[in-house]
Symmetry: C2
DNA sequence: TAAATATTGTTCTATTTGGAACAATATGCC
DNA sequence: GGCATATTGTTCCAAATAGAACAATATTTA
């Protein structure tokens, strides 16, 4: 029996920033259990998975690109790159003209892993978003899309 | 000048889980800069702020309550409690009937800090959500509310 | 061309984080 | 009551995280 039988979910609606609270709650609800599973079953941490995810959608990226896209610091990416290269999930080839940077790409093996792992996110996404009917879900997608564009334009 | 002039925002729409990606992106866009500012200006980390936030909306909570509400492990809360008590933002009084637990509550000083800090979230929330007009924003709120209820019911 | 400034990716370091084990207390079961 | 099981909150420890400084290379400016 838990400590208190009081309704702690009251905070959902009775706080000063309900939309922020809800968005954050939903993000965590979808993502956290999936990352936990990936960590447990495959041994990849969040930064490593994000690296794989980014590279699954572009032919080539630099570490800096991934840092920009994922919002993680470059040193985290750097460590992830070395571990993922060692495990055969990504390739790394130094730029021929710019000695500082290197181009990263996903390997066949990495692609296969991505396909397997992204399904976990998709399944969990469906579980959560099934709280809406089809029309509502379309509506939500459009609103989110609009917001993301707006947000990346204001920085 | 950044590394690549390619359009890295293409990933917003061309991935397998666009809604998850968007929700996560929006959550981070709102929350991360505010937490960074709070850390910089007030010295509170995320767990400590969440503790303050939870206590601002309930008269009394146990550490376990806060762990349940915030999704953070109990040891993080425990550490936060001691720091926040030492700084005078929260009070802690052991339960008279159950020697294991203690009741936490926000102090006047803590309340004042909460009022000040939650404004930062509100301002950032508005910046981001101003990408929608009033009707759309209402629509979004309703959809999010519905999803949060659904999600907390499925666990 | 030379010097000042940028950028990339890395290492170093301190902080944050969370799992696991733990002591203290409470509850359930016989 | 007495023994097994829960729960609470804490400490311990290993991993993740991110800021800062750094070396190597490019670019810009004079």
């Amino acid at each position: 029996m838990p400590a208190s039988a009081r309704d702690l979910t009251a905070i959902f609606d009775r706080n000063e920033i309900p939309d922020t609270y809800r968005i954050s709650f939903l993000a965590n609800s979808i993502i956290v259990p999936v990352y936990d599973g990936i960590k447990r079953d495959v041994g990849l941490n969040r930064g490593e998975y994000l690296l794989l995810f980014c590279l699954a959608h572009f032919a080539e990226l630099t570490a800096q690109d991934v840092a920009n896209m994922s919002g993680r610091p470059r040193n985290s990416i750097s460590r992830g790159v070395h571990r993922m290269v060692a495990q055969g999930y990504i390739d790394r080839s130094p730029d021929k003209h710019d000695g500082r940077q290197a181009w990263l790409s996903i390997t066949e093996q990495g692609r296969a892993l991505h396909v397997r792992l992204v399904k976990r996110f998709k399944d969990r996404e469906d579980e959560v978003l099934n709280g809406l009917n089809a029309a509502q879900r379309t509506q939500l997608s459009k609103l989110l899309q609009k917001l993301v564009l707006h947000t990346s334009s204001i920085g």
